[in-house]
Structure formats: structure tokens, C-alpha cells
């Protein structure tokens, strides 16, 4: 079970489909506006917010600059506290480690804490291929998994689903995965959450192994941190005998004291709360409390590729709060699926090209363009990642990667435009043509009352397929100048 993003169309194509989905847009508009308001209110309570952002950025940058040293410190601290440390170059390595731990215990069912890293490596699918069922236990992830759907938001992966859809998914799909939904299930969110509670409690009580990520990993002490709301994280981290945590190498912070910054910045930025309901920390094995076999998988999977870009490596500061998604006018209209990745929105538009590299995959190459460069994402980022700057930086890389290719229609159009605008006579001809276009019937209004064309004949349809074209003025400036302006100048 569980869809993957493999084979998703590039952003412009996916966006067109998403834009036509009015229910999706309504759900997203409501959700992002709500979280934006909550975030703004709790951020306003702290008069040193800008200081915190600046200092968090400095801590992360300092850590990244000496990442190898911090990773070795982390490995030593974890080992000293009874954890077993594994390293993973890529998704295949990491999935193999998790599967091997399960196999060694004869386990064919694991429970999971919501984790971006395990989604990134396609862990559920990899485990399924080896006959191991992985159950998501975060409510939204459960909805996505049961619906054989894809997550569309970092924090609220089922943000695109409404309550009636969720009821239908629970009624039709829960039984095949364990305890069925109650017969009288309504679409009241409390009733739906209650059904998930009963369904999952069976799994928590039976599970022998759990898989998690970590929000932070403290090098000095080997302390891992998971931040959550529902308690499913605590269930997974506490009840099973075996725990495997897949941790991106950028999650390391040098000392425990550094957490004070991030535990102030993260909840306010992500859910708009002063603090999330539950935060769990653990360092290796605690005798008599929680899992007695603890594994940690340190995951690269492209992070060192991002690290090698001295300017853009700041993307590795990201604490996955999703504040940038909630303020992005592009994300708000198209939703997360259009980005074709578990990391959607502005952060996905830079993180994916940096982790995967550009030039080989059209979906990844389209992402740096999935932005208006309005800058809102950079303003809200709690670790002050220059997202707009990196978007432009990645656009340059995409262009460079395709210099040898056959020119695209857009490049040809720009060349034609350069020719047409480069000489006065050609430009005058162009103005006549555009004046005629301006007389075409107007199909739509643009903001400010200007007319717009929503359809042009080919090849113009390539443009109007995704955008409205403001109607060209019927009379060009130069035509007007000839008719009126010069006379006025003479009169003066």
C-alpha cells in the first residue's frame, strides 16, 4: 500500500490539474490562512524573534561547517549510551538497515512515527517489497496511507482531504488494515479521531518494533528529539522492544543547550502554538524504560551534495516547520502534490534540486520555477534560509545544465522577441499586430480592471494554457505620440 511520487509530471502540468480542483483550493485556502494567523499571533508574543532566527541560523551554519566532527561526536555518544549506529549513503542503504533489523527479530509489522526522512527514502514501499508491513500512526499519515494517496503538506499531509472524504476512507479501507471503523461513524472530526484511536491502539499494543525520524540529534549527549501532538510518537518511541530512528545528517546540533532555540522556534513556526503537546527526548537505551534495543541510521541521501554548494548549503538549516508553505501564494493555489515530492512548497522547490542535482529529471528541474519570488517564504523561515535567493541560484544551475540542449519554445520566443524589439521598424510592425490583438474580444478581467486573453492560437496557447495574457493596448505609445503628443508639445 502507499502511492509514490515516481512518474509525477513536472510542476506546470501538475499545477494545471490542481488548479482545476475547486475543493482542493477551498481546503488549502482555509487551512493556510488559519495557520498563518495562528503563527503570526504567537510569533508576535516574542520581542526577540529576529534575534532567535539569526542565532538559530548561526548555530546551524556553524554545525554544518564542522559536520564531520559533530557526526563523529554523535556516533560516540550514541554508542556509549547503548544505541547501535548505522550510516546510509542513500535510500537503498537506509531501507536495507531497517529491513535487516526487522528480519533479525522475525518481525513483519512495524509502527511508524511521521517522519519526512522515511518518506523521502520510500521506506514503506521498500519494507512492503520485503514482506514487512509499515503502519503510519499519525492521523493525517494514516488517512494518506489508507487512501493510497500522497502527502501534500509537510505538517498536515492530508490537508487536501475534507472530513466526508476521510469518513469514506475510514469506512472502506480500515477493515483491511486491522480494526474496522465503527458502523455508525460520522464525519465529525472528534468521531474520526476516535476511530483512528481505536484502530491504532490495537497496533501500538501489539507492535514489537517502531520506526521514527528525529527533529534534532544532539551530538554531545546522543539525545534524539521528536516533536509531535497526538501521542502516537510517544506510543511508538516507548512501547515496542525495538526502535529504529532514521536521522538526516543535517539534524545534528552540537549541544543540548542548543535545543532551547529550536524548541522556541519550531512549534510557533509550524503549528502556530507556543509549544506542541508532546516532545520526547531519549539518549540510547534507558534500562527498564522504553525499547531496550535502539538503532540510529545516519542518512546522507543527497545532503552532502547540498553541503557542497557553499551558498545554498543553508538549505540544510531547515527544521521542516512548513511555515514557508503556508505563506506561499503558489503553494496555496496548487497544493503539495504538484511539486511531485514529499517536500512541497518553497522549501521543496529548493531542497529537491539540491538533494538530487539538476539536469537529469524534468520534475526536479521545473521546481525552481514554481515560485513568484515574492519573498514571503524567506521572511517567515525560522532559520532565515534565503529561499528566494536559492530559487534564483538553482534556476541558474538548471539553465546551465541545459545549455547544450535543443532550445526550448520559450528560448525561441525570447530570441524572436529580441529580434522584433531590436529595430524600430520591426517594433512598429509588432505594435500594429498587437493593436489588432487588443481588439480581440476580452474573455476575462485582470486585477485593476484591465482586460485579459485566456486563449491564444498555437503557439501562443503554450502561454495561455497556464496564464492569462493582459490585453495589449489598442494604440501603442508611439502611435499615440504621433496622433496627440507631438501636437501638445508644439502647443506648449
Amino acid at each position: 500500500m502507499g502511492a509514490t511520487f515516481v512518474g509525477m509530471p513536472p510542476f506546470p502540468e501538475a499545477a494545471r490539474t490542481a488548479l482545476a480542483d475547486t475543493r482542493l483550493r477551498r481546503n488549502l485556502g482555509h487551512a493556510t490562512a488559519t495557520i498563518r494567523a495562528k503563527r503570526a499571533a504567537v510569533v508576535a508574543e516574542l520581542d526577540d524573534w529576529e534575534d532567535l532566527r539569526r542565532q538559530a541560523a548561526a548555530v546551524k551554519d556553524e554545525t554544518l561547517t564542522h559536520l564531520d566532527e559533530h557526526l563523529l561526536t554523535l556516533e560516540a555518544a550514541l554508542t556509549e549510551r547503548g544505541a547501535i549506529v548505522h550510516w546510509a549513503r542513500d535510500a537503498a542503504d537506509a531501507c536495507a538497515v531497517v529491513a535487516e533489523v526487522a528480519r533479525a527479530h522475525g518481525i513483519d509489522e512495524v509502527v511508524k512515527v511521521k517522519s519526512m526522512a522515511t518518506q523521502e527514502i520510500g521506506l514503506n514501499e521498500a519494507l512492503a517489497a520485503r514482506g514487512i508491513a509499515a503502519w503510519e500512526t499519525d492521523l493525517a499519515e494514516l488517512i494518506v496511507q489508507l487512501g493510497d494517496d500522497l502527502p501534500s503538506h509537510i505538517l498536515v499531509p492530508a490537508i487536501h482531504r475534507g472530513r466526508s472524504e476521510i469518513r469514506e476512507i475510514f469506512r472502506t479501507r480500515m477493515a483491511a488494515a486491522g480494526r474496522p471503523a465503527p458502523d455508525d461513524l460520522t464525519d465529525d472530526p472528534a468521531a474520526l479521531a476516535g476511530a483512528a484511536r481505536l484502530h491504532l491502539r490495537e497496533k501500538f499494543l501489539a507492535a514489537r518494533m517502531a520506526v521514527s525520524g528525529a527533529n534534532f540529534a544532539v551530538a554531545e549527549t546522543g539525545t534524539l528529539v521528536v516533536v509531535e501532538s497526538e501521542g502516537n510518537g510517544r506510543m511508538c518511541l516507548t512501547l515496542p522492544e525495538v526502535l529504529v530512528s532514521v536521522v538526516g545528517i543535517e539534524k545534528v546540533v552540537p549541544t543540548y543547550a542548543d535545543l532551547d532555540l529550536f524548541l522556541r522556534l519550531l512549534p510557533r513556526s509550524s503549528t502556530g502554538e507556543r509549544m506542541n503537546p508532546y516532545t520526547s527526548t531519549w539518549a540510547g537505551v534507558t534500562p527498564g524504560d522504553g525499547p531496550q534495543e535502539v538503532h540510529v541510521v545516519l542518512l546522507d541521501n543527497g545532503r552532502t551534495r547540498a553541503l557542497a554548494d557553499e551558498y545554498a548549503r543553508q538549505v540544510l538549516r531547515c527544521i521542516r516547520c512548513s511555515a514557508c508553505l503556508n505563506v506561499c501564494p503558489v503553494y496555496e493555489r496548487v497544493g503539495g502534490h504538484a511539486y511531485g515530492s514529499v517536500y512541497p512548497g518553497p522549501i521543496g522547490a529548493i531542497l529537491n534540486p539540491l538533494l538530487k542535482g539538476v539536469g537529469s529529471d524534468p520534475v526536479t528541474d521545473s521546481l525552481p520555477y514554481a515560485s513568484t519570488l515574492c519573498g514571503a517564504c524567506g521572511d517567515v523561515c525560522p532559520v532565515a534560509i534565503d529561499i528566494p535567493g536559492i530559487l534564483v541560484h538553482e534556476r541558474v544551475k538548471v539553465v546551465d545544465a541545459h545549455r547544450g540542449d535543443r532550445p526550448k519554445a520559450e528560448a525561441l520566443a525570447m530570441r524572436a522577441a529580441a529580434w522584433g524589439l531590436g529595430e524600430a521598424g520591426r517594433m512598429a510592425l509588432g505594435e500594429k499586430v498587437s493593436g489588432l490583438v487588443g481588439r480581440l474580444p476580452r474573455r476575462r478581467g485582470m486585477p485593476g480592471g484591465r482586460g485579459a486573453l485566456s486563449w491564444l492560437p498555437f503557439p501562443g496557447s503554450r502561454w495561455t494554457g497556464a496564464r492569462d495574457l493582459p490585453t495589449p493596448p489598442v494604440e501603442s505609445f508611439r502611435a499615440w505620440w504621433r496622433r496627440a503628443g507631438r501636437d501638445e508639445e508644439v502647443r506648449r
Partner: protein, 201 residues
């Protein structure tokens, strides 16, 4: 090469041969946990815990036992951790109960390591009187006793006092989800009710 060698080599290659010296990061925010003008730490703690739809009872040491009994509100099956210095009539001690046995328990009474006023959080480091982590997780009602002297202003003060190698659970209100149309629902997997008993004087 092993995955470990490969990852470390990739990190070093990415950083290049010239290492920047370690830089001391400015910590100007420390010790400046905000308190709204005129608010006392304990009052703010109570207000913020209640803001999370948890229940707070304020009492003195003399009526703590009664306050706890009231907070339990007639819960039939109550469990208490090892080392809890409180008399909870009828409660069973945690004798390495299995998760399934805990699931049949209605309520748990624990102490805390500290409380955080700014965020309305109680922190357990699972020492004596706080129990292992599963204890305050599986039962549906968590009654948590906090001494007024344990309440700190904010998160930076809390982090400065906590032991990084002990397992910790930070609790801000009852279990909650906002995953369905962003409607907040209390009680998914953790305790559906949190009752903080604050001991003053």
C-alpha cells in the same frame, strides 16, 4: 568502503580542505524568557496550561491528597509510579505492568521535573515519582502534581536545568490533533485529559 567511510568522505569533500575555525555563537536570548508585564510566573503557568484545555487545581501541601483525589474524579482503576510520595487510595503500584495491562487503567498520578510558564508545559524526566514513560501515556487521565517552586519562566530556563541523558517527556495539554480540516480535537493517542495539581505555599 563502508557506508560510514563514504558518508564521512562525502562530508569532508563537500566542506573542502580549508576549515573555518569554530565560532562562538551569540546567546543574547538566554535568560530573557518573556513574561508579560505584571504577570507572576505561577499565574502565567496556570493561565497557559488552561489555555491548552487542561484542568488546573491550585492547592496547598496540606490539601494535596484531597486535591489529587478530586482530580481523579472517581476513576476506578488508578496506577501510581514507584517513589510517588503521595497517598492515593485504591491505586495500584506500577509493577512492570504490560502495555495491555496499562490500557485497562483509567488514570495515573505522577509528579513532574519542572513546569514552564511561558508555554504551559510540564516536563517529566521519569525519575522517582514520575514513572517510566509508558505510565503517563497509556491511561486516559494524567494527573500531574507540580510544586510552585518547580515552575520556570520559559524554555531556555527549562533546557538549562534538564539532564540531557535522561529520557524526557514534555507535555503541553492533552493529546490533540488538528489533522481534519484543522479542527482541533483533544485526545487521539495520548491521555485525553490532563489535570495539573499545582501545590503552593
Amino acid at each position: 568502503m563502508s557506508a560510514r567511510d563514504d558518508v564521512l568522505a562525502a562530508v569532508r569533500a563537500a566542506l573542502g580542505p580549508e576549515r573555518r575555525p569554530a565560532v562562538e555563537v551569540d546567546r543574547a536570548y538566554r535568560g530573557r524568557d518573556p513574561l508579560p508585564a505584571g504577570a507572576g510566573v505561577v499565574d502565567l503557568f496556570v493561565e497557559r496550561v488552561e489555555d491548552y484545555r487542561a484542568t488546573v487545581t491550585r492547592c496547598t501541601a496540606a490539601d494535596l491528597v484531597d486535591a489529587v483525589a478530586q482530580a481523579l474524579g472517581g476513576a476506578a482503576r488508578v496506577v501510581v509510579p514507584d517513589g510517588l510520595d503521595l497517598d492515593v487510595p485504591g491505586a495500584v503500584p506500577d509493577d512492570a505492568l504490560t502495555a495491555t495491562a496499562l490500557d485497562a487503567v483509567d488514570a495515573v498520578v505522577t509528579r513532574a521535573t519542572l513546569g514552564i510558564a511561558e508555554t504551559g508545559t510540564v516536563v517529566l524526566d521519569h525519575g522517582p515519582g514520575q514513572g517510566r514513560r509508558a505510565l503517563s501515556l497509556v491511561p486516559d487521565l494524567h494527573v500531574c502534581v507540580v510544586e510552585a517552586g518547580q515552575v520556570v519562566r520559559g524554555v531556555t530556563d527549562a533546557v538549562a536545568r534538564l539532564d540531557p541523558v535522561r529520557p524526557q517527556t514534555w507535555v503541553s495539554g492533552p493529546s490533540a490533533t488538528s489533522d481534519i480540516e484543522l479542527d482541533r480535537v483533544e485526545g487521539v493517542h495520548g491521555p485525553r485529559r490532563l489535570h495539573v495539581v499545582l501545590v503552593e505555599g
